[in-house]
Symmetry: C2
Subunit: 202 residues, 2 copies
Amino acid sequence: MSPRKSAAEARRTRERIVERGVAIASVEGLEGLTIGRLATDLGMSKAGILGHFGTKETLQLATLDEASAVFLRVVWQPAAHETPGLPRLRAVCEAWITYLEHEREIFPGGCLFTTASVEFDARGGRVRDAVARLHRLWRRRLVGELRLAVTAGDLPSGTDPEQVAYELVGLYLALNQAIQLFADPLAPDRTRRALDRLLAQA
Amino acid sequence: MSPRKSAAEARRTRERIVERGVAIASVEGLEGLTIGRLATDLGMSKAGILGHFGTKETLQLATLDEASAVFLRVVWQPAAHETPGLPRLRAVCEAWITYLEHEREIFPGGCLFTTASVEFDARGGRVRDAVARLHRLWRRRLVGELRLAVTAGDLPSGTDPEQVAYELVGLYLALNQAIQLFADPLAPDRTRRALDRLLAQA
DNA sequence: CCTACCGATCGGTAGG
DNA sequence: CCTACCGATCGGTAGG
């Protein structure tokens, strides 16, 4: 029926699948992301979906990769031009709040990393490993930025970057919960207040 | 085959189902908790399981209730005899750490409330409502205890109990992630350090 | 509490 | 990229 597509068209189809996959998984989780649901949403056959990935696990890994690219683009890249250290960290933290508040088109069910973290934290397998790896990656970035801030003298020399990064992550987990579960409009400002305290006297 | 059981026996069977359900759901989530899996684990038929609840949704609600009872028993009750206010709050916070660290028999996949919160935060329905209600309940308890601490003069009079409770919840979300996803042995002490700072100068 | 069943959906494959 | 399948499992029901 449908003629064989060019490589460029196939790539574009793959992108559409992954984009839709991120949206579904942010609501239903990476296990709740089913090939049949994707096929229905995109007007394709299940075999057409699966042809691009081979297995569901590979589809899940591709979906995680795309979520990672979105996070990089929305949270870290807009801050890239800021002065390294505290100014850049502050810009990242503010973009992170905006991301959790407004990125509803890409992640209608909230940050996919948070969802995937809890979903796979008690399992084994390649998806779990990828989730843990990505969380470590973003954590290391935060720690690196905090170290720069200490070196620059923007934070007290006694500051423990790992400790501050740990507390920062907690604030964003709380923010994701406040937005998704409680639809609490005060949560972004609560997060800013906590950030100010944390980064002023770390 | 099996003779009709007495009401007491039926109640005991129901307890066994719910207990096992909590363990499964803490790993697989409340949607991943299937009637077939429960039946296999307990050596029963699916109809035997379902007879106690009628629908999967009712089973999920019963499982949440049991998890709530466990949390009350392990985190709040041991602190009940402490002086209301900061001393009791401190005892709760320490028991909460122990709970996330060691309650592996009851919750092999970590705190069921955290799992369920993320799993249902983008959905509708009665299970989601129950999850939100329970989170609000525990949050209110924290706020109440913080208010007592302010009244007693154990925390500065300018303290915002809602703000501190928000940050406390974030710390425990971070702790659950650190234990479950990273198996980080430093996380309990990181949590204690953050707590000390938070409750010393709130 | 059981056996025996239902339609729907799951991930995945064969073949084109 | 499709149609047409596969065996397994899902929640749930009938009847005892």
